[in-house]
């Protein structure tokens, strides 16, 4: 099918799709007139039931904790999938990354400027601390395991920018990253099963709730689940980054 015919067919199809979607969305309540009862119910009950002031995290890790477990497993499988798809094939060799690793790989990359190196070095520590703060404060303010994990992973990426690939490899060997990722995902699942063992529903909040709502040790399992999720997200993204960097810098074709 020629590209022109494909384009014409696409325009016909998408105009039909757009017509149907607009027809459907015209029946939704007007923008700004949210009617749904579930949101108001969660607002009224969440602080009393979970002692958490961050309602979005309470919904994520307690009221809909099972969905979050599923999404975390998607993340886990995607990271493992990247590691599997980008494994070294039979007709490839892994060169050793020396000090001139970027140039040895055949890429005409200019050497990293001193400004980039210094500012990346200066920012690595604060970004790591901010990511840790976000991971452990899910129940108080707009934070949570997912955001904190991504911020911490970008701190690890800053290490690669600030130095050589060898330094990045030394702080994130693949065995360690994969173990940490498994611990994060497994910890979340085991926490859910643990609540089953004591006789409560799956992922119910059985730990002591803590007195003032929104304190750092409040809301029982929510803070703990957020911590495990943060650990798993960091490990997954560092693993993905590591695989891609390895492909670009180290792996070379034998042909």
């Amino acid at each position: 099918m020629t590209p022109r015919a494909r384009l014409v067919l696409f325009l016909v199809g998408v105009s039909g799709l757009v017509a149907f979607i607009v027809w459907g969305l015209a029946g939704v309540p007007a923008f700004g007139r949210y009617r749904g009862p579930y949101g108001y119910l969660v607002d009224a009950l969440a602080i009393h039931q979970t002692h958490a002031t961050g309602i979005v995290s309470a919904v994520n890790f307690y009221y809909r904790g099972f969905d979050t477990l599923g999404e975390e497993f998607i993340l886990f499988v995607a990271a493992v999938g990247v590691a599997t798809v980008l494994r070294t094939l039979r007709d490839e060799t892994e060169g050793s990354p020396g000090a001139d690793d970027e140039r040895a790989a055949g890429r005409l990359a200019t050497p990293t400027s001193e400004t980039v190196r210094t500012s990346a070095l200066a920012f690595t520590g604060p970004v790591l601390v901010v990511g840790w703060f976000l991971t452990t404060h899910a129940q108080t303010s707009p934070s949570g395991g997912f955001q904190g994990g991504v911020v911490m992973a970008s701190a690890v990426a800053l290490v690669y920018l600030a130095g050589h690939y060898v330094v990045f490899k030394r702080i994130s060997p693949v065995d360690l990253t994969e173990t940490v990722e498994a611990l994060g995902a497994g910890g979340f699942a085991l926490l859910g099963i643990g609540t089953l063992v004591v006789g409560a529903p799956f992922l119910a909040d059985v730990l002591p709730l803590g007195a003032p709502a929104g304190a750092v040790d409040a809301s029982g399992t929510i803070a703990l689940i957020s911590f495990f999720v943060g650990v798993e997200v960091v490990a997954a993204f560092v693993l993905i980054l590591d695989e891609f960097l390895e492909q670009t810098i180290v792996v070379r074709s034998r042909r």
């Binding site: 995290s57 890429r107 934070s143 991504v150 970008s154 980054l241 492909q247």
Partner: protein, 79 residues
């Protein structure tokens, strides 16, 4: 609907069209990073700071980094 909301929604629509219309992959990655920033502003205006934080860290830092690494391996100078 306030002017701010209308303005940011128009920017989002324009940003999406611009990102798709660019054919050179490396330029498209930079434009994607800016589109992520505009989306973050939309989420802030719609009172969702959590989602804005996620979109900022993922769409502005992690996704363009991974895409550029992939492009370095694949070669992005042609269409």
């Amino acid at each position: 609907m306030t002017t701010l909301e209308v303005l940011v929604l128009v920017l989002v629509g324009a940003g999406a069209a611009v990102v798709v219309a660019t054919r050179h992959p490396v330029r498209q990655v930079v434009l994607l990073s800016m589109y992520g920033a505009v989306l973050m502003v939309l989420f802030l205006v719609l009172q969702a700071p959590d989602v804005a934080l996620s979109e900022l860290s993922v769409g502005t830092v992690v996704l363009p980094l991974l895409l550029l690494l992939g492009l370095a391996k694949v070669g992005g100078s042609r269409t």
